[in-house]
Assembly symmetry: C3
Homo-oligomer: 420 residues x 3
């Protein structure tokens, strides 16, 4: 009971600290005139983060309350923290200006924690998740800053910065946590991991909303041609990954049934796989091909790779996050590198420098289309491709190292709350 009390006061302490930091730092961004397009995109992402992720994880009949409840609590506290962390990189006069764009980026940042939570579901207490989330958001912002502002890579749909990062962070934390568990604890944990008819249908609500609104996730911060292409590419990639996931699920399950885990997860893999190249000239057929690849890869992952990792590396991945966010995220990065390597100015017209700002000439030149001066690093296509790969490697390494350390440090916090 006194542990319980202590834990609750940690939760309150976090919320009060956030309030104080907002008091010192955060002010309305007066320069924003309330442009509405991004608000409606934001609402779609908001549905994905608060409803989609929560219900998707409700497929375990024992963890329905926890999935939805923890997801709700965690996301609500961490969006506030994410606004602060992002703001510290964009201070103006020592104040953080807040706008609808801040809310969008906070939601996206929190998605990385919810992905990690999918790995750890049922393995941690809520307090451990909160502490992990606070660390993860901070690391995420640093990694994002380096990738976006220094390496200047293209990742409009956040496949590298969110999906890959969140997946490997969670897997490393799970690896760390499992070091300290006795074998039969893990066995008994797994016996809790079954779904039933009702929990599977609740999970489908999550799946379908994620699937529907994914084009908004991948295109919210784009505009014009770029955004239009991103919407079409995401839609096609998702449609193809859905169809292919169903077909592969039928191939790989012995008894003429589809596996609901594949239906709930692998159908979404196309949204991850297209994310890093979503505004590039991948062409409609390219988006479909990538979606097919991702759907198949994800089902194969659920059937062969996750059990192998569990058995041999002793990393338990409750929701199979590696198959929905991990591998498709890596695939996304590789595809973005290939497309970056073949991107020419004649293909993209002046849009090239919107997608790859580092490819613009080092000498400022006036651009007729956007009516402003453009200045870049004068990178070649191959250099840009190299940077895309570099950002992938950096992200995976940072995620694994910090995720592992977070998992280790979390071992000292082993008191349980739950809805169970």
């Amino acid at each position: 009971m006194s542990d319980h009390r202590r834990d609750v006061f940690v939760l309150l302490f976090v919320q009060v600290t956030i309030f104080i930091l907002f008091g010192y730092f955060v002010r309305y961004d007066e320069s924003q005139k309330g442009e509405n397009t991004i608000y409606f995109m934001f609402q779609d992402i908001h549905v994905m983060v608060f409803l989609g992720f929560g219900f998707l994880m409700a497929f375990l009949k024992k963890y329905g309350y926890s999935s939805i409840g923890f997801n709700f609590f965690l996301a609500a506290i961490l969006v506030q923290w994410a606004i602060l962390c992002r703001g510290f990189f964009h201070l103006s006069n020592l104040k953080i200006p807040i706008s609808v764009e801040s809310l969008v980026e906070a939601d996206i940042a929190v998605a990385s924690v919810l992905i990690s939570m999918g790995v750890l579901l049922g393995q941690t207490t809520l307090l451990q998740l909160i502490i992990m989330g606070i660390i993860e958001i901070a690391v995420y912002q640093c990694n994002f800053y380096v990738g976006d502002e220094i390496l200047k890579i293209a990742d409009a749909g956040a496949s590298i910065f969110v999906h890959t990062f969140g997946a490997y962070f969670g897997l490393a934390a799970s690896f760390a946590l499992s070091r300290f568990k006795r074998k039969n604890d893990i066995e008994s944990d797994k016996s809790l991991e079954s779904s039933n008819y009702t929990s599977d249908l609740f999970a489908m609500i999550g799946t379908i909303f994620l699937w529907i609104y994914w084009p908004s996730f991948n295109s919210a911060e784009l505009s014009g041609d770029d955004q239009h292409r991103a919407i079409i590419n995401t839609y096609l990639s998702l449609a193809a990954s859905c169809a292919t996931a169903f077909a592969f699920s039928a191939i790989l399950t012995p008894d003429t049934k589809f596996d609901m885990v594949h239906v709930q997860n692998s159908t979404l893999a196309g949204g991850v796989a297209i994310g890093a190249s979503v505004n590039m000239m991948i062409q409609p057929y390219g988006a479909i091909f990538l979606g097919m690849l991702a759907g198949a890869l994800s089902v194969i992952g659920y059937n062969y790779i996750t059990p192998w990792i569990d058995r041999n590396l002793h990393i338990h991945d409750t929701c199979g996050v590696h198959n929905l966010h991990g591998m498709p995220g890596v695939l996304a990065a590789l595809v973005s590198a290939i497309l970056a390597a073949i991107a020419t100015e004649s293909q993209y017209h002046t849009g090239l420098y919107d997608i790859f700002p580092a490819r613009a000439p080092t000498i400022p030149s006036f651009n007729q289309d956007v009516y402003r001066h453009i200045q870049g690093d004068g990178r070649t296509a191959m250099q840009q491709a190299g940077y895309q790969i570099l950002a992938l490697i950096m992200t995976v390494v940072v995620a694994i190292v910090t995720g592992f350390l977070t998992g280790i440090s979390n071992k000292t916090l082993c008191f349980h709350y739950s809805f169970l």
Copy 2:
């Protein structure tokens, strides 16, 4: 098992063929500048097609997985096919330009197949549905082309082209399939058709999202005054049909209870009934009257007409599609003909030629309001009304003939997958 394998390869073959056709034909529409209004309308329709239809059909406790899963798979594969079919009627330099508008029209086309699926739920395998869907989309596009571009009728909410077409296509296919079934097969099928508390609540998720977003379905491709009127008319018609369906449900069920089937379906009939005249000057009270009529008609259909059809024509209609899409669709067409017959230029101002382009004079004239030349076929109001009826008759005949043939040809494909 080898049948299973064969069927799976058919599924993969379909997806791979679509990929190849996209490779040859589909390119980004460079002329689109990413106008966002239609994207947000599209998202509403996307929720209706992927979530609304899927959950609405989940009311049968035995078919919850199938309804939602088949709906998801079928829609995902067929939206790709619909983009191609639509595109073949709009080739430019032998390429199909793809835009957000293409995605909207693909979603709408697929709705017709999902309506037919509602008739056949539990009577077919997934493979049969896929093959039916491929044929149905192709026929739909031809019928739509003739109705829209040659007969030049008004059907902004697709009540004729989607709802009526989908319903009668499905009913004809059901008729064909039942020819080959033994009586006791059908009896046993029906014993599976019961709902329970949980499945009824899942179905209500579908119903309510369809109900909420229907104004977007009926107005997505309109603009300005037209769109504003369409939103208001659909809202009012739906509200009235909801209230009337509840009242009639209470009248017709003997034991003071509402029937959940009526609540789930007949409440939506107003959205179908207003569809063909949604942008016409039906006036708010007209929209309410039409909604009341549709709600009452739909409940009466569930109580008397569907059992009669089942008994006497041996057409089994699992979800009672005839009462939600069939009869209200025909009603919509008749109402559109009446309103077309009384439409005058003084009532619609220059908007008349937006709704009925064929009524514009044959001699091109410059229109001050839209700043372009307008040219039509010089039709009278009565002629336009005749064309509205002609399109209805054509659609019903085409749907019945092709639906029946599809059902017959599907008889050879009787291998089952299912989630059950």
Copy 3:
């Protein structure tokens, strides 16, 4: 049976009367050019009213059908009535012009009835709810007219006019109804009030959609800076109230578990509490502080205040509406008065007169920003604060008196329909 028939005819009579009144009064607003921003805001509110409220009330396993079904029916019939009631205050040439804005305001008006229904759930028949709703909407419109147009108070998120009004109206009606019940009837009613795993998850769908779309509810009729601020304030207040509600729930429930009732309701209290000052300069930290306060207050209300009211005042509040809408609504009004009292022109620039039109000078002056003449009542900040309090008092008094009278008059109508 004849009672049943009589009741059904009352329902039909209401719908037919509405149709006739629409025929006499309602016409399209020709001046509206179909501006889309408000339509997308409207859709969010539509989801809240028809899906959010309905599923939120589905947490009682015995009343799942009733909650969702009654909510659907009631809202569908009352939005029509609300369009009429609102219109009678805005007649132009004895006609009511209808636009998307009318639909928004109708949805918002109906929310007040759905809030009252939350108090009475399981205590009334559907017919009683309909009659109550018809009266309540009429009273709501009068109270709103006086508060908005005569007292000229600021309440952009309708915390006073909708949440406070709906809560106290319902509580007074419940008080009136309970006067006539025998004690053991009430006891047996309460035994029906339990939730289960499935009903709690359905309720979470309602909670989360309300939570997600609340920024649209609080900002739909604003524009520019005002709207931008309202979105950010609502988002932050909700996030803080969610986190605080979880923490207080853990503190106040003895056995390390969160209480799902708190998770479903108190997480939303921040949306109510910020409503009246949503477009004021409360600053991000102020929004967070207010959300924390509301979340804590709401949980304390569920744990101590509602049981006390039930025991001592014999007012039964099925959904604990007092804790989600009542007290947070009063809090909202007090905060709006404080902020009004300290509002200066230098802080708000010319936006001050958008939020508090009565503070503009009595002599018309030309305003550069909005390019029109502005004229007000020359109120001081303290006067405006006084009017905010006056509107709160008026609303509470009107709600209690009319709610009590409605409850009394409803006693004569005791025939039951239900889904049970």
